[in-house]
């Protein structure tokens, strides 16, 4: 594949293979060279990240899939290694390229660095694979493959009830995947029957032809939706998440929140809307309801948490609810907002988990009741935490705002009453995060809390790129919107065209983010 001398360098296969090669290299290094594992892992992850940025630069603002590679893999089943990116997956791949170096830099394993870094790199390669896959089976392969490294990361380097959390995570996701696999098989076979052509699992072909009968698509969409809803996670399938996030090591939590959860929402856009638009429109009320439920439930439960990390974990449930709300508003704004939430939630929650990890390293507790007045002993950390927390709350000017705003805007246009309920989630988010901040960082600093060390320069350096992005993407999201808009518009038009009784809502309102974008366009 790398030898392809065609028009361009096959950047996507390189981004998948590079981490795998790095993992293999770490596997081959002797244990005695323990000092090499971290540099090799970091170098590989950064190189992959650089490739993702290179891809971002070379991306054209059009709807079609770019950087495509298509290699037959299992020819008798018509499965091919078809990879490509469009405006929706582009930023998730860049996010992967960003968050893995941060996660590797941001924390060190307590023991056994060799398998730790090897698994992290495997996870990275597989994550890129999920976002770039254009063949249903290849998507599934990577989707399942991410489970294995994550399972070991939680189980071997986690805290407390790590084995329970790891097993629960694995089985939950696998149960969903089992349904999805049958759904994928059925999609391929029914598509073949419908067209009379050869068997194929190519997403573009299946989405284009739309030959599967309506009852069948409802079942298949249901199977996909359950699998992806577990991954998102949507209430009531979320119970694996608090355990997995809380017990995972810091890097594992960062990756879980920043990348793994996005596999679910990304899958809903890519396989829910794109492949089965009609079924998505029909089952939309169910998903919207679950999304709104997730927003409010996640927020309320987060408020009640005593453990800081668990609080952040539940806040993810709420944020991902906004994502799903945006997607199933079926408006351009809603889906754009949803993609923005995905990326920005990845950045802010990743940063939050890093900060909680730093607190835990110093204080060996995450209980809010044990922490108090940290801003006196660690003012820089408090400042970072404030910024990240406000971004997570959705303060205008920081990166949490545009995505949530556009999601809600889309919901008001496409699904008004769900939008009305969802707005309460914004208020609750302010409540639980500000309250948690107040309890941990304000108040009197006593005992251990008074002696806590502030962020080291190295740790600040790890956070710096995230903080910069939090501000930059909050003030100026237009570059992202410009790149994703053609793809999102094409997707909404596709749904409009291929579903009964649904017309995409015309754009009537212009939010500040779009106003900025308009200016960017108009010049």
């Amino acid at each position: 594949m790398l030898a392809a001398t065609s028009s361009q360098f096959p950047v996507i296969p390189a981004m998948i293979l590079l981490p795998f090669a790095g993992a293999a290299l770490i596997g081959l290094l002797p244990r005695s060279r323990g000092d090499l594992f971290r540099p090799v892992a970091l170098l590989t992850a950064v190189a992959t990240g650089v490739l993702s940025v290179w891809m971002l630069v070379g991306f054209e603002d059009v709807a079609r899939f770019q950087f495509q590679v298509n290699q037959p893999w299992i020819s008798d089943l018509g499965i091919s290694l078809h990879l490509g990116v469009n405006g929706i997956s582009l930023f998730l791949i860049v996010l992967t390229g960003l968050m893995f170096p941060v996660a590797i830099l941001g924390s060190t394993p307590s023991h056994d660095p060799k398998p730790y870094y090897a698994w992290l790199l495997v996870l990275m390669g597989a994550s890129v694979g999920v976002f770039a896959a254009m063949d249903l089976v290849v998507f599934f392969v990577f989707f399942e493959l991410v489970l294995v490294p994550m399972y070991f990361l939680i189980g071997l380097w986690g805290h407390g009830r790590r084995v329970y959390a790891a097993t629960k995570f694995f089985l939950y996701t696998m149960a969903g995947s089992a349904l999805m696999l049958v759904g994928i098989v059925a999609t391929g076979i029914l598509h073949q029957r419908g067209t009379g052509g050869p068997l194929t699992f190519d997403m573009v072909a299946i989405a284009r032809d739309q030959v599967i009968s309506r009852p069948a698509t409802l079942w298949i969409f249901g199977a996909f939706a359950v699998a992806l809803a577990i991954k998102v996670p949507l209430v009531p399938l979320h119970t694996w998440l608090p355990d997995a996030h809380t017990e995972a090591p810091t890097a594992g939590s960062v990756i879980l929140a920043a990348i793994m959860l996005k596999l679910g929402t990304y899958g809903l856009i890519r396989f829910g809307l794109y492949l089965f638009p009609d079924a998505a429109v029909t089952l939309r009320p169910v998903l919207l309801t679950l999304a709104v439920l997730g927003i409010t439930y996640g927020a309320v439960v987060a408020t009640m948490q005593k453990d800081l990390k668990r609080l952040v974990a539940y806040s993810s449930v709420a944020h991902m609810g906004f994502c799903v709300l945006g997607i199933f508003s079926l408006t351009v704004q809603g889906i754009e907002g949803s993609v923005l939430v995905m990326v920005n939630h990845g950045i802010t929650t990743g940063a939050l988990f890093l900060l909680v990890g730093y607190i835990y390293e110093r204080r060996h507790t995450r209980l809010i009741s044990d922490l108090s007045g940290l801003q006196k002993s660690a003012p820089i950390m408090a400042a970072c935490f404030t910024l990240v927390m406000l971004a997570s709350v959705g303060l205008p000017g920081l990166n949490g705002f545009p995505g949530e705003f556009l999601s809600l805007l889309g919901a008001f246009e496409g699904a008004r009453w769900w939008g009305v309920v969802a707005v309460t989630g914004v208020i609750l988010a302010a409540l639980y995060l500000l309250w948690a901040y107040q309890r941990t960082f304000h108040g009197p600093a006593t005992g251990e809390n008074a002696r806590m060390k502030d962020l080291r320069p190295g740790e600040l350096m790890v956070l710096a790129p995230l903080l910069v992005l939090i501000v930059f993407l909050g003030l100026y999201p237009a570059p992202m919107l410009e790149r994703m808009e053609p793809s999102v518009k094409a997707l909404v038009a596709h749904v409009d065209r291929n579903s009964d009784g649904f017309t995409a809502v015309e754009r009537r309102y212009v939010g500040p983010a779009e106003a900025a974008e308009r200016e960017g366009e108009g010049g």
């Binding site: 599934f140 071997l156 790891a166 089992a178």
Partner: protein, 506 residues
């Protein structure tokens, strides 16, 4: 009277079939290899090095695989043929199963070498019996006549009954042998009775004649034939351990010497499924599919569910793998149930993939079992990742493959079977099968958890890994990964092999 004269006249010139020796070469090599080994060893007793038997067995099995290759070419060029006056059939399907059985002989022989040395059990009998059993398996896979199926089954089984009881010092081994024998004899009786009823209904035991007869004739009173089908299903079901005929399996797998268990899980399963598929799908498929499919569907449901759920409640790893093999049998049965070309290919693919997964897993079990072959409790795997990281990794890969994680053989095996089932309209069964796979995954994870996450009580033991067992494990892991990542060659072979199966007989 005239009939009697005719018989007399006929006896003067008994038509002896032309024997195409080259067509049955793999089977002959296995059988003669076994007999010759017994002869050589009894002549030059005591002067042979310890490794001789294993090397001999592996060479014989390799030679048999080599003999398969020109036959495969021949079948690909000129189509399937029947051999020995229609008693055997030479087609792609039988050849692939033959090669699979030979591979499992090689893997089991490697395990046996290390095992016998450790247990201080000598003797060529183990290898002789294994070769003869394999020859029986090949006979089953190539049989074109119900009587030949039965003969093959008996050769296969009798040798394995003895092998199961071969560990002289372990009572559980003898118990396993006896249990297997008694229940096996019962099931043979069922099979034979089924064959007799089928003969009564169709007037022949030859599979191609039965197929032709059923194609031409509509039987108005088909109770006899249905009875025959049901009884034969019991017979085959016992051999492949389909629920509710599975009760022997955990006990026998647990009690038998572990290399023998590996052989049973691979060669015996492959041979029995090959015969089952040939009889039900090829012979009765075109005409009587609607009669046997509901029956097999019910058995598949039971096999999948019972295999998965009983596996998770076990604490003995050998028993866990025994129950999980029942779950796997359910998946293979799903391929048989599809009763289509895709289903046949999927069955074949699954059998080959399972050979590597099962042989490799039991290889690990044999090594961890240590001297006495008794340390099979889950707690014996505690801390294995510390004391033997390589062994733990190998076992993890094999278990994940059994669970169906992508990039391993197990995933694609399941994928092919599911595709075949969905194509034949058994989507609900495919969903059920995948859900039971999740239940099984919990069991595999329990083993992984024990190896990696559990703190060992006291000093973790370092099981010795003999070179031969290490080689077997290496082969299995490579096989599992290669099939999982580059499945093209195997799936091509499986597809080619299956298209041949339809045309049986001259």
């Amino acid at each position: 009277m005239t009939g009697f004269v005719a018989v007399l006249a006929a006896t003067e010139d008994i038509p002896t079939p032309d024997v195409d020796w080259s067509a049955i070469a793999p089977n002959l090599i296995l059988m003669l290899g076994g007999i010759l080994l017994l002869t050589v060893v009894s002549v030059v007793r005591g002067r042979l090095p310890g490794w001789f038997h294993a090397v001999w067995t592996i060479s014989v099995a390799t030679a048999a695989i080599v003999a398969v290759v020109p036959l495969w070419q021949r079948v690909q060029d000129s189509g399937p043929e029947s051999v020995l006056a229609g008693a055997l059939v030479l087609d792609g399907f039988s050849l692939v199963v033959t090669a699979t059985i030979c591979v499992s002989v090689i893997l089991a022989a490697l395990l046996l070498e290390a095992y016998l040395r450790r247990e201080r059990l000598g003797g060529p009998e183990w290898y002789v019996l294994m070769l003869l059993s394999a020859s029986g398996g090949v006979t089953m896979a190539t049989a074109n006549d119900l009587v030949v199926v039965f003969i093959g089954l008996e050769i296969l089984s009798v040798a394995v009954y003895v092998l199961a009881a071969m560990h002289r010092r372990r009572v559980s081994s003898q118990e396993a042998g006896l249990k297997y024998f008694v229940l096996g004899a019962f099931s043979s009786a069922f099979l034979l009775y089924g064959i007799a009823l089928t003969y009564g209904a169709t007037g022949s035991t030859n599979l191609s004649r039965i197929q032709a007869f059923l194609a031409d004739t509509v039987i108005t009173q088909n109770a006899l034939l249905l009875g025959g089908l049901a009884f034969m299903l019991v017979g085959f079901g016992f051999k492949v351990a389909v629920v509710p005929f599975h009760n022997w399996k955990p006990d026998v797998y647990q009690g038998s010497p572990t290399p023998v268990t590996a052989f049973m899980a691979t060669a015996v399963t492959a041979a029995a499924f090959a015969a089952l598929l040939r009889v039900y799908v090829t012979t009765f498929g075109p005409t009587y599919r609607t009669e046997w499919q509901p029956l097999v569907a019910a058995l598949t449901v039971l096999t999948l569910v019972v295999g998965a759920f009983l596996a998770i409640s076990q604490t003995n790893v050998k028993r866990m793998l025994a129950y999980s093999s029942i779950n796997h049998a359910g998946f293979v049965l799903l391929g048989v149930l599809a009763a289509s070309a895709a289903g046949d290919a999927a069955t074949l693919f699954y059998l080959v993939a399972y050979t590597f997964m099962a042989a490799g897993s039991f290889a690990v079990v044999a090594v961890v079992g240590r001297r006495g072959d008794g340390h099979h409790d889950l707690s014996d795997y505690q801390g294995l990742s510390r004391s033997r990281p390589g062994l733990a990794l190998v076992f993890t890969i094999l278990l994940l493959s059994q669970a169906g994680v992508p990039l391993t053989a197990g995933f694609l095996a399941k994928f092919y079977v599911l595709a075949a089932a969905v194509e034949s309209g058994y989507t609900w069964l495919a969903v059920l099968a995948m859900l039971t796979a999740v239940v099984s995954a919990f069991m595999y994870l329990r083993i992984v958890v024990t190896m990696y996450f559990a703190e060992p009580e006291g000093e973790p033991r370092r099981p010795r890994i003999p070179a031969a067992a290490g080689l077997a494990m290496g082969l299995c892991v490579v096989g599992v990964l290669v099939i999982g990542i580059v499945p093209g060659p195997l799936s091509d072979v499986a597809n080619d092999a299956v298209s041949q199966l339809v045309a049986v007989g001259r």
